[in-house]
């Protein structure tokens, strides 16, 4: 039972991550490959605030998410000029840079040793210790994310995003400032990814740079593509299935030294199969052009 709750919590965190990436990739058509960088910043900022300055995790969550927005601007702004696989490569590069800052700035982040003993969330002095209470918290945040993103994509703003995806020059010709829209999309995506990172840090209570590699970014992208690009329920399905499915490997009695590479192999194979067979994903409407 505890195990099931754990899987659900992790799935919830990945749902937030893939929803926020879907806004950038699926709705606006910007192939961003550095999403783990945002959750990395969210996780590290809120953990460091809690560990070094004794901030409450709630405040850390907010500050972490806003720092992630800042990073979203730093990454988004130079990437506005790039398209297609060059944009993918540049965001990928920012992902590597953020990862290596987390790994090499040892005096602040303790590098590969990671940060242990991160406090959990607490309400009125009671620590959220039982797993189910944490699941409730994650579920509420997932619902908020879905609600906000649904409002965003169904609004006139979201319509502009889809028009940028379909034909950027045409939407520019209609007087839309596409650069501003793209930057805002990066900021929204970064905000929610920062929240997810902070949730992860305060749940696991330990973080190290290896949780935020570029391979992690590709895994999140795979969830978005698998579920379906440009659909909200697609991301929910994609993240849940891809978190839950590899857990079956554990039931087959695989030791973790075999289980981890096997899981990655399945992800890699799935990415290839999806690209060849169904690039828009299971429930998707849009494919990369």
């Amino acid at each position: 039972m505890e195990y099931l709750l754990h899987i659900l919590i992790i799935a919830g965190i990945y749902i937030i991550l893939s929803l926020s990436l879907n806004l950038i990739v699926g709705y606006t058509g910007l192939p961003a490959l550095g999403h783990a960088a945002f959750s990395c910043v969210g996780a590290y900022v809120s953990s460091l605030l809690a560990l070094n300055l004794g901030f409450s995790p709630w405040i850390g969550l907010i500050i972490g998410a806003f720092t992630a927005i800042l990073l979203g601007v730093v990454i988004g702004y130079p990437c506005l000029r790039l398209k297609g696989d060059y944009l993918a490569l540049a965001t990928f590069g920012f992902g590597v840079i953020v990862y290596s800052i987390a790994k090499n700035w040892v005096s602040l982040t303790r590098g590969p040793m990671g940060l242990p003993g991160i406090p959990r969330f607490s309400i009125l002095g009671f620590e959220l210790d039982p797993l189910w209470s944490y699941l409730v918290l994650v579920s509420i945040l997932v619902l908020i994310t879905i609600f906000v993103l649904r409002r965003v994509v169904d609004s006139p703003f979201g319509r502009v995003l889809r028009s940028i995806r379909e034909d950027e020059i045409a939407s520019e010709a209609l007087g839309k400032d596409t650069a501003r829209y793209k930057l805002i999309v990066f900021m929204i995506g970064a905000f929610f990814a920062g929240i997810a990172g902070s949730l992860y840090a305060h749940y696991i209570t330990f973080i190290d740079p290896s949780s935020f590699t570029v391979m992690e970014s590709i895994t999140i992208l795979l969830m978005v593509i698998f579920g379906g690009m440009g659909t909200i329920h697609g991301s929910v399905v994609g993240a849940t299935v891809l978190v839950a499915f590899p857990e079956l490997l554990r039931f087959l009695g695989m030791p973790s030294s075999i289980e981890a590479p096997t899981r990655q192999m399945i992800y890699g194979l799935l990415l290839v199969i999806l690209m060849i067979g169904r690039p828009q994903g299971l429930l998707g409407r849009y494919r990369f052009r």
Partner: protein, 292 residues
């Protein structure tokens, strides 16, 4: 100190140049980022390890065997993954993501077979290096430099003077016109995958003589290869070579003042600066500018 850093940069740069050249050969005919090129490089190192350290085959023979198997691996990747995508006329981004998939799959396959730990390929006892201009160079490093420069020269003349090399250049310039004059584009693509992958395998073997091998080694290698190609002007053969040396030296000079762990960041910073300020590379290749 600075002489040593420049020398280290030249050695690293020669490896990057070989990777970037293989990558560029493939890029020129297919026009997408063949990220899985990096796993062929890892494959080269591991195959050489298998033949030489496990099966105890003569080093020269085992290196040639590994290079041939790498060429076959490249062809297999093209046939099984890229060919179906080509038939469907998929976009560059789909090719890139599929290539990531291949990379992740094979890297973890290698990890499953050989384990995640570091392996070493030792061809002989470690010898003391020679002193040149207050810098130290070991015999192995001289070999690496010589072999990679030799490979670069062979490839250069191959593309410039042989019939197949000319066909490759023709397909890269205009595939339709090339097929009009009787060049088979599919065959040319296969040839470029075979030669490019052989180069990647050779680079993997060369680096494994100098440093340890691990399943994740191909990741940063292919990134350096791609960055070197973009710095030199994507699709340009002299550009790839120069970009490789430039990157190797820049990286090693960069760690003069800061720690070695920042090498990858320096490389990507250079890439991002180039993408924003000079997307055509050092030579300013114009033809692909509109794609950026």
């Amino acid at each position: 100190m600075i002489q040593q850093l420049i020398l280290n940069g030249l050695i690293a740069g020669s490896i990057y140049a070989v990777i970037a050249l293989g990558f560029t050969l493939v890029y020129r005919t297919v026009k997408f980022f063949h990220f899985a090129h990096g796993i062929v490089y890892t494959g080269g190192a591991y195959l050489a390890y298998t033949f030489f350290m496990i099966l105890h085959i003569n080093p020269i023979i085992s290196f040639f065997l590994s290079i041939i198997l790498c060429a076959l691996l490249g062809i297999a990747i093209d046939k099984s993954v890229y060919y179906p995508l080509r038939v469907k006329k998929a976009s560059n981004l789909i090719f890139l993501l599929a290539s990531f998939g291949v990379f992740i799959f094979l890297q973890n396959l290698i990890q499953l077979i050989y384990g995640a730990q570091i392996l070493t390929l030792r061809t002989g006892p470690v010898r003391e290096g020679y002193h040149i201009f207050s810098a130290v160079i070991t015999p192995i490093q001289i070999w690496i430099l010589a072999v990679s420069c030799g490979l670069l020269a062979i490839l250069w003349s191959f593309v410039k003077y042989t019939k197949l090399g000319k066909a490759m250049r023709a397909v890269s310039d205009d595939p339709i016109a090339a097929s009009l004059v009787g060049i088979n584009p599919d065959k040319t693509i296969l040839a470029s995958f075979a030669i490019g992958s052989a180069l990647a395998g050779a680079a993997g073997i060369l680096i494994s003589l100098e440093t340890n091998i691990e399943p994740t080694m191909g990741f940063s290698a292919i990134l350096k290869g791609i960055i070197a190609s973009i710095i030199g002007g994507i699709g340009s053969i002299p550009g790839a070579v120069l970009g490789g040396f430039f990157l190797g030296i820049a990286e090693n000079l960069g760690i003069w003042k800061i720690q070695a762990g920042w090498k990858d960041s320096i490389a990507f910073l250079i890439l991002i600066i180039f993408l924003l300020l000079r997307p055509g590379g050092i030579f300013g290749i114009k033809t692909h500018k509109e794609q950026i």
